[in-house]
């Protein structure tokens, strides 16, 4: 081989080596890019997961506060309703007490009506006894005739009404017993207020919270 034959070979050896080196570096760069891309993808996923978790925590914390606020609101509404219901019954009782004590004429009419209401709700007997408070004895005595007459009309028989010896403590009204004292009907003001509380509370609330006055 002469000098002229060596140079091309040397060039070829170098070229092949450089080609191999380039291939190695290209492969390394490709691998490096892939590693970085994978890391970026992983980082994005980590951030996404952490952000999702953080948002979830924020929402959960507020949702708890929201639930607590809703419960508090319900409790406040119930308390408000109770407060005004009690106020209404208390004020009604006060006004009734005043009417009973100061407007005896009106109260006498009411007394008669309450007695007849009680008698009408009891079974048919020949005799009924009115048990009243001490302060209403005068009214009871005065109204006895009227009550007896009206009761006889209601029961369609001759009914005898008497005033019991015992006295009751109440704002007004009376307890009516059958002559044999086996059955009684409590028609005191307090009993009637209890009735309204038990049976007509919805109506009371409806009036209390209606938007437009009728």
């Amino acid at each position: 081989m002469g000098r002229k034959g060596v140079e091309p070979l040397k060039l070829e050896i170098r070229r092949l080596a450089e080609e191999e080196a380039k291939k190695i570096l290209d492969e390394a760069k490709r691998k490096a890019n892939s590693i970085i891309e994978e890391a970026k993808r992983k980082a994005e996923e980590i951030l996404r997961r952490r952000t999702e978790q953080a948002l979830k925590e924020a929402r959960r914390e507020i949702e708890l506060k929201m639930a607590s606020a809703r419960i508090k609101h319900k409790v406040d509404l119930i308390r408000l309703r109770q407060e005004y219901t009690e106020k209404a019954f208390s004020e009604a009782l006060n006004r009734i007490r005043t009417l009973v004590d100061e407007n005896r004429e009106e109260y006498e009419k009411i007394f008669i009506k309450l007695a007849l209401d009680a008698i009408s709700k009891l079974e048919d007997y020949d005799e009924y006894v009115l048990i009243v408070r001490e302060k209403d004895l005068d009214i009871a005595r005065r109204a006895l005739g009227t009550i007896e007459e009206e009761a006889s009309r209601i029961k369609r028989r001759n009914v005898k009404i008497t005033i019991g010896e015992e006295r009751i403590e109440c704002v007004g009204g009376m307890i009516v017993c059958t002559g044999n004292r086996r059955v009684y009907y409590n028609n005191t003001v307090e009993a009637r207020i209890d009735y309204v509380k038990k049976v007509m509370l919805d109506k009371v609330h409806e009036i209390l919270f209606r938007e437009v006055r009728t």
Binding site: G2, L16, A17, E20, A54, F209
Partner: protein
């Protein structure tokens, strides 16, 4: 002729060594590139793990929801105040209704 051939071979062997060095250097450099990439990848992942970004999002979301909560609480208070005014206004009607039922047995409002 034989002398020339020997010289040629030696020269080519020398060139082969140089070629090996080039490849060797490329391999070393390639390892370095991959190693650097791995370190960079590790840094990227660690940064994501330590990033304050999610907390920032949480803070923004929390503030937004807190405003909503405050609005709901204000609505609740307004509703309570309104109902209180209504109850105050209707109290006399209710008292009269209770009195009518208790004293006269009238159940209509």
């Amino acid at each position: 002729m034989a002398e020339w051939a020997e010289l040629d071979i030696m020269e080519l062997m020398e060139e082969e060594k140089k070629a090996e060095k080039i490849v060797e250097e490329a391999r070393r450099r390639a390892e370095e590139i991959v190693k650097q990439a791995e370190e960079e990848a590790k840094r990227i992942v660690e940064e994501a793990e330590k990033s304050k970004e999610p907390e920032e999002y949480k803070k923004v979301e929390y503030e937004k929801l807190l405003k909503e909560l405050k609005r709901v609480e204000e609505d609740h208070q307004k509703r309570l105040d309104r109902l209180k005014r209504i109850a105050e206004r209707n109290l006399d009607d209710v008292v009269k209704f209770i009195m009518r039922v208790v004293l006269y047995g009238e159940e209509g409002s």
